[in-house]
């Protein structure tokens, strides 16, 4: 590591240089982020504006558009199924996200140990997160089968009569949470990368100070991983609130709408019922809900996320 030079910040220069520097930084900043700006301007923004506009109207996308103001949003307020889907989605998200973080972090810590054939172990743990398509649905059908399934067979060994999982209104969402946790190896990768970035001297210093491994974990590993944890927390909240494919393939919202997630509901409203106005309104409501939680997490982040290179410092 390079010796740490204590530098005088550039601000020591005169005011004119400062403002020209700022202008140059503005230009440089926009140049660096220009790929995303192009994407936003040409692809994303229009699509978002269109769907927002649709959410204030009635349309099947083919036979005209009628502006109805906030009617779709009012309808949502009185729609039992909207509230049900919100509960299903929130339940799924608020159990899966924290549990997922703990498990994937745990796996990452294990995978960061001195273990023989560590690459093979890592690959094995990573595997479930990249199995795709038909295989996932079939496999989980067999794992969760109430009578023959592997999961209930395992529970039987320890003397528990397993529930009916996907065939029970109570256990259907937990089934999806288990399926989600099984993909924890995907996030493991992020934590492994995060662990790489922790400078070894930090640990050495702590060791010299007599800190035991638990203390080192709490006072060095965790704080240094907070940017990664923060990322996972935010992105998993954003992703889990939009859970769709697994619910569509495995249960299509059943039994009795017990797994009717928000996106499944709005998909159904749009692509089956052709009420794209209402579907878009549901999507924007979801957008707002996710935004609220995201902002909450971001706000809280200021107090617990530790950036070595934070510009705000």
């Amino acid at each position: 590591m390079a010796t740490q030079i204590s530098v005088r910040p550039a601000s020591s220069a005169g005011p004119t240089r400062k403002s020209s520097q700022r202008r140059r930084d503005n230009i440089a900043g926009f140049l660096f982020i220009s790929p995303w700006i192009i994407q936003f301007v040409f692809l994303i923004s229009a699509a978002m504006i269109v769907s927002l506009g649709i959410s204030f109207g009635e349309t099947d996308l083919f036979n005209g558009y009628k502006f109805v103001g906030l009617a779709n949003y009012v309808r949502m307020w009185h729609d039992e199924l909207f509230w049900k889907s919100l509960r299903v989605t929130a339940y799924y998200t608020f159990v899966l996200v924290p549990a997922g973080i703990v498990i994937s972090l745990g796996i990452a810590l294990l995978m960061n140990q001195k273990v023989k054939f560590v690459g093979l172990w890592r690959t094995l743990y990573y595997l479930p997160s990249v199995v795709q398509g038909v295989a996932v649905a079939l496999l989980w059908g067999y794992v969760l089968n109430p009578r023959f399934g592997l999961l209930n067979a395992g529970l039987k060994v320890i003397g528990i009569q397993g529930p009916k999982w996907l065939f029970s209104e109570t256990w259907a969402v937990p089934s999806f949470i288990i399926m989600g946790l099984w993909g924890a190896g995907g996030a493991m990768l992020l934590y492994l990368a995060g662990l790489q970035g922790i400078p070894t001297p930090l640990y050495e210093a702590a060791e010299i100070d007599g800190a035991n491994s638990w203390n080192r974990f709490i006072h060095i590993t965790i704080p240094m991983l907070t940017p990664t944890i923060y990322f996972n927390l935010l992105l998993n909240i954003i992703g889990s609130f939009q859970v769709f494919t697994s619910a569509q393939i495995m249960t299509d919202g059943g039994p009795n709408n017990a797994t009717l997630t928000q996106v499944l509901y709005l998909y159904h409203m749009g692509f089956v019922n052709f009420q794209f106005g209402y579907a878009s309104a549901l999507a924007w409501a979801l957008f707002v809900i996710i935004m609220v939680f995201t902002v909450l997490v971001m706000r809280s982040g200021n107090s617990w996320v530790h950036y070595e290179g934070d510009l705000k410092k």
Partner: protein, 306 residues
């Protein structure tokens, strides 16, 4: 490096125990180590059983005759192993899977290159440069991920159709070359965990932003770059929805789409589907294995072991 390791080993965090008598403490240490190791491997192995089940099941199913697929309890080792399922599945589709692999590899490799370049540039901008509206734009970028794709894909499809690029690989490649919020956010997090002191030093030396980006930040965040490459590979390789929507001709399909073409209402073909799913999984796992060995080395935290 060697100096540092030696130092780590020679440091004496367990001195209080050592004082009680050298032999005794060594024994305790050794026993602790052995128990720790045994526990570690036990946890690893039991976890691995859980996580390996899919692969075992898929391979087993891919070697069965159709009639044994639904048997319960699961027939793990079929009485007559049907190796030919692999050959049949590969060749019965026209064009054969070779074409689908060529298409998928082309798209995936293009997209990894594009994503790595663009997302690191954009993430650097957000993480390191103070510019007008930065935090607002960043929030906007995160916000674009919050609207379900189900209500935006039709307008986007319309855009590609109007400029005549449906049924080409373009709608699959260009958006990746223009980055996405996920990867930018991830890299930004890694960039931000690197001290700005290095930038400042470089700037005093007269280095521009691009130099700081390419000479300082990129080399220091290799693990994160590796993660993005791995994830971009897996994501593009497995992406089903976009190729389904944008590609029409059979000769342009990708592996993920072709995998769903075995199953129709009339014909199940589960073993063939599983055979091709296993084959499709191999590159993803290989890339992961190689990339993790390259980017995420073994133990760096010298202090946590034991």
């Amino acid at each position: 490096m060697t100096v540092r390791e030696e130092k780590a080993y020679s440091s004496t965090p367990l001195q209080p125990i050592m004082r009680q008598g050298t032999d005794w403490s060594l024994v305790i240490l050794k026993v602790q180590r052995i128990i720790g190791r045994i526990l570690l491997y036990a946890v690893l192995a039991s976890g691995a059983v859980l996580f390996a089940i899919p692969l075992v099941w898929m391979v087993s199913t891919s070697l069965k005759p159709d009639g044994l697929v639904n048997n319960m309890p699961i027939v793990w080792i079929p009485p007559e192993i049907q190796w030919h399922n692999y050959v049949d599945a590969w060749n019965t589709s026209v064009p054969p899977f070779t074409t689908f692999y060529a298409n998928t590899i082309f798209i995936t490799v293009m997209n990894i290159i594009g994503l790595l370049v663009s997302s690191s540039l954009v993430a650097f901008g957000f993480a390191r440069i103070r510019f007008w509206g930065r935090d607002g734009i960043f929030l906007l970028m995160i916000a674009t991920m919050m609207l379900p794709k189900q209500v935006t894909f039709i307008p986007i499809y319309l855009f590609w159709a109007k400029i005549g690029l449906v049924n080409t690989f373009w709608p699959l490649i260009i958006p990746e070359w223009l980055t996405n919020g996920y990867n930018v956010f991830l890299l930004r997090q890694f960039f931000m965990s690197i001290s700005t002191e290095l930038d400042d030093a470089a700037r005093i030396d007269g280095a521009g932003w691009f130099t700081i980006y390419s000479r300082i930040l990129i080399p220091l965040t290799k693990p994160a770059i590796g993660v993005i490459a791995i994830q971009a590979f897996a994501w593009n390789w497995n992406n089903y929805f976009d190729p389904l929507i944008y590609l029409n001709e059979p000769s342009k399909l990708t592996v993920a789409v072709a995998l769903r073409l075995f199953q129709t209402q009339q014909s199940a073909h589960i073993p063939e589907t599983m055979a091709m799913t296993v084959v499709a999984l191999i590159p993803v796992l290989l890339v992961f294995y190689i990339a993790q060995a390259r980017f995420i080395q073994g133990i760096v935290i010298s202090g946590v072991k034991g």
